[in-house]
């Protein structure tokens, strides 16, 4: 049993500044990486920057576990005049998730990038990756609604370009990146419009202040429109069904470095922000909020879980299967949150972390195989297990976890979701989770069947085991999938603290 209260305590001076250092660290590292002379140095800087951010995130998590939510006034100005960071249990959980995904991705990129991108571009790729990371970390820690937009864009602009450089392997990365850019920008702009309406109604941008003022304001057309714009805008960014059109392309064709990072974090941070607005900023009793959750969010999430799982079953390219599966899993996470109970939210957040972990494992394993195997279709991966047993094993661990096999993290995650749905009396949500799990079993079965039980056709190119630098993080993540399946105290604590922070005062 690991406890965050006792796990780690950084020096007080460092802890005091940890929230901002967590964002500024990768940002500064990005500049240094862009200035660095060779691909190798930029990779080292990238790993260092990511590790620094993870260290800070760990310090914050410990601090939050011990003393509750952390505030940080940037520039020394108290909100609402200044921009304040506000990190509670939920923010700490997200920060830890994003920064550890960053560490894994950056370590992994040392070898994978060389196969995917021309060496002269590496310094800039690492810089863009670090900016993306800094943006997402800023997004989860800021307490200012407009500042969140700025960080959303910092992370997105880097991500668009990074997806587009996948063109060296497959030119379809370019239209996919363009589509991602258009959808992402529309989403961000709708979010800004929504913030504008909230600002018109309240005169403030600080989330805590917004919340306090909205509570006294009551219902008005401006507030309702603001709510709608924010939710739709973030829904696009979070790939909420039916606004997920950009995701399969971006995840299928981008280089592994960015895909594994985005798959683990990008949609999740937008879900985080959306949850922040729905549960924290808007008053609890607002009729439109409750109606939205009951009549829009939950049905759409359920549709996503079912429809996209079916779509994944019929896809032929392995990364597209995983991408559609991501949209479906986003649906499951949102279903958990839409229960609006502590149990439901903690199940949703637990699922969020579990999904990040397993999708990262899967994309990493596929990326490792793709270094030697110029293939995309599932059929081309036939019999890979014989040539690259370690990668295939890691893939199997992630896939079993995704399918919810017992003794894996995925099983626990699905179980808690079911439990929470039944506990809240929402039978149809429980049924949806069950059906989605069965569908997941179908496409996971297809993938595992191809990789393990089929033999490669004669004359087909054979895979070679991924290099150690790639294999090590994959195996670590695969191990975590199993480890957390046996002892889930760590993610459980995080999810529980996050749910409590999100739904302070709810049953």
């Amino acid at each position: 049993m690991i406890s965050f209260e006792t796990l780690y305590a950084a020096a007080p001076a460092l802890t005091a500044h940890a929230p901002v250092l967590m964002v500024a660290g990768p940002l500064i590292a990005a500049c240094v990486a862009a200035l660095s002379p060779t691909a190798r140095t930029s990779w080292m800087i990238s790993v260092t920057g990511s590790m620094f951010a993870a260290w800070m995130a760990l310090a914050i998590t410990g601090e939050v576990a011990r003393h509750g939510a952390v505030d940080y006034y940037i520039g020394g100005f108290a909100p609402p005049l200044g921009i304040a960071f506000y990190i509670d249990g939920l923010g700490a959980m997200m920060a830890l998730l994003v920064s550890s995904a960053g560490v894994m991705a950056s370590i992994y990129s040392g070898h994978s990038l060389a196969a995917e991108v021309r060496a002269e571009k590496h310094t800039h790729v690492q810089a863009a990756f670090l900016l993306c990371q800094a943006g997402l970390l800023g997004l989860v820690s800021t307490g200012d609604a407009f500042n969140a937009f700025v960080f959303l864009e910092v992370s997105s602009i880097g991500a668009y370009a990074l997806v587009a450089i996948g063109e060296k392997r497959d030119r379809r990365a370019l239209p996919a990146a363009f589509n991602y850019l258009i959808m992402g920008t529309i989403g961000a702009t709708l979010y800004v419009i929504g913030i504008g309406f909230l600002y018109a109604a309240t005169g403030t941008l600080n989330m805590a202040d917004l919340s306090a003022r909205l509570a006294t304001l009551g219902d008005s057309s401006v507030v309702q429109a603001g709510f709608a714009f924010i939710v739709v805008g973030l829904g696009i960014k979070a790939a909420m069904f039916p606004l997920h059109g950009w995701l399969p392309g971006a995840y299928s064709f981008g280089p592994s470095l960015i895909v594994i990072f985005l798959a683990a974090t990008a949609t999740k941070t937008s879900i985080y922000l959306m949850a922040r607005f729905i549960f924290d900023v808007f008053p609890d009793g607002a009729a439109f909020g409750r109606n939205f959750i009951a009549w829009v969010l939950a049905p759409l999430a359920a549709t996503a879980a079912i429809v996209c799982s079916i779509q994944a079953t019929f896809e032929r390219e392995i990364r597209r299967i995983l991408a559609f599966s991501s949209v479906a899993q986003v649906g499951l996470i949102l279903l958990g949150l839409s229960l609006a109970t502590i149990l439901g939210a903690s199940a949703g957040l637990f699922y969020l972390m579990a999904h990040a972990l397993m999708k990262m494992t899967l994309f990493m394993a596929v990326g490792g195989l793709a270094i030697s195997l110029p293939a995309r279709r599932l059929d081309d991966f036939a019999g890979v297990a014989r040539d690259a047993p370690w990668s295939a094993t890691a893939f199997a661990a992630g896939a079993l976890s995704l399918a919810g096999a017992p003794l894996t993290l995925g099983f626990l995650a699905k179980w808690r979701l079911l439990e929470a749905a039944l506990n809240a009396g929402q039978i149809w949500i429980a049924a949806t989770v069950a059906i989605a799990s069965l569908l997941t079993l179908l496409y996971v079965g297809r993938m595992l069947e191809a990789i393990f039980f089929r033999s490669a056709p004669a004359g087909a190119p054979r895979a070679v085991e991924a290099p150690v630098g790639v294999l090590a993080p994959v195996l670590v993540l695969a191990g975590l999938n199993i480890w957390f399946g046996l002892d889930a105290s760590l993610p459980e604590q995080l999810a529980g603290a996050g749910a409590k922070a999100l739904l302070a005062g709810a049953p």
């Binding site: 520039g75 005049l81 700025v150 910092v154 880097g158 370009a161």
Partner: protein, 358 residues
Amino acid sequence: MIALPSSLNANLVIGIALLVMLLVVAGAIVRTRSLLAAIILFSIYSLVSAVWLVVMDAADVAFTEAVIGAGVSTIVLLGAILLTRGEVEKPGWRALVAPALVCAGVGGLLIYAAAGLPALGDPASPANAHVGRAYLEAAPKEIGAPNIVTAVLASYRGFDTLGETAVIFAAGIGVALMLGFGPHASPLPPAATIGDHHVVLRVSAKFLIPLIALFALYVQFHGDLGAGGGFQAGVIMAAAIILHALVFGLRDTMMAVPPRLVRSIAALGVLLYAGVGVACMLNGGAFLDYDYLFPPAFEKQVPGWLLGDPEHAHHWGQHFGILLIELGVLLTVAATMLTIFYGFAGRTVEAIRQERGA
């Protein structure tokens, strides 16, 4: 309904007239099939909206919109249609019903909300009464910069501006990744073949370039007194160099201001900005708290005459902090704009062919 002072009415009429112009221009952009026309119309759109912004008292925003919207965006768009060699859009919409429904939905929601928004110019609206007013009252005392917009931009919301500088930096990296590398990037492009008949252009450009650079510096250092600041100055500075490239050829410009150097400067700008933040932190303040920019011991040793008016002495840190971070913004913006320009302009037709063959 509040009683409106009579002087609003002239402004109101001008504002409405400009909005009608914007509507007409936007309609023309939707209708036209020529991309070139759409780009020029977009430039006009930006310029007209800049005028409207002046009417709405948003001098800084108008300035930015004019240099960025009507200036940089137009250049980049023109570069893009040159490189995509498609001046005319293919006739026929892809689909009309679904987009029209989406727009109708969003538009309906906007107008639904508009009815509940405060009247234009309402001084008692929540937006104007709460934080906005607090800035107007607090900034002269706490920051000391006469331009409140600069005070808010650089100090109260300095972190936003850091993020924004990072966005610009990211865009520079993105464009460099897309267009700036490759076989064609190392050798310089061929010298431009501008005929003698452009002699007027060349002579006046020689005269104008230093003037533009000077004006950029004016805008930079005048930013806390009047409209202006690092963003506008950075774009203007880049414009001076872009003018050089347009008139004397990209080759000469790239020799004088090499792309690699420019990309490094962009990173240095963000580094300077973030560095100021870290320096404040090391001196015991919060990140970007310029009051702690200089250690107290250091401030005591500075002779009084340098601090100037003792009444404003406590703004010293704020003043220099804003100056430094605006310098960082200038460096990043100018370098990034130039990177973007190099990216588009450097990708000549030959280079494309070369890359295809490779």
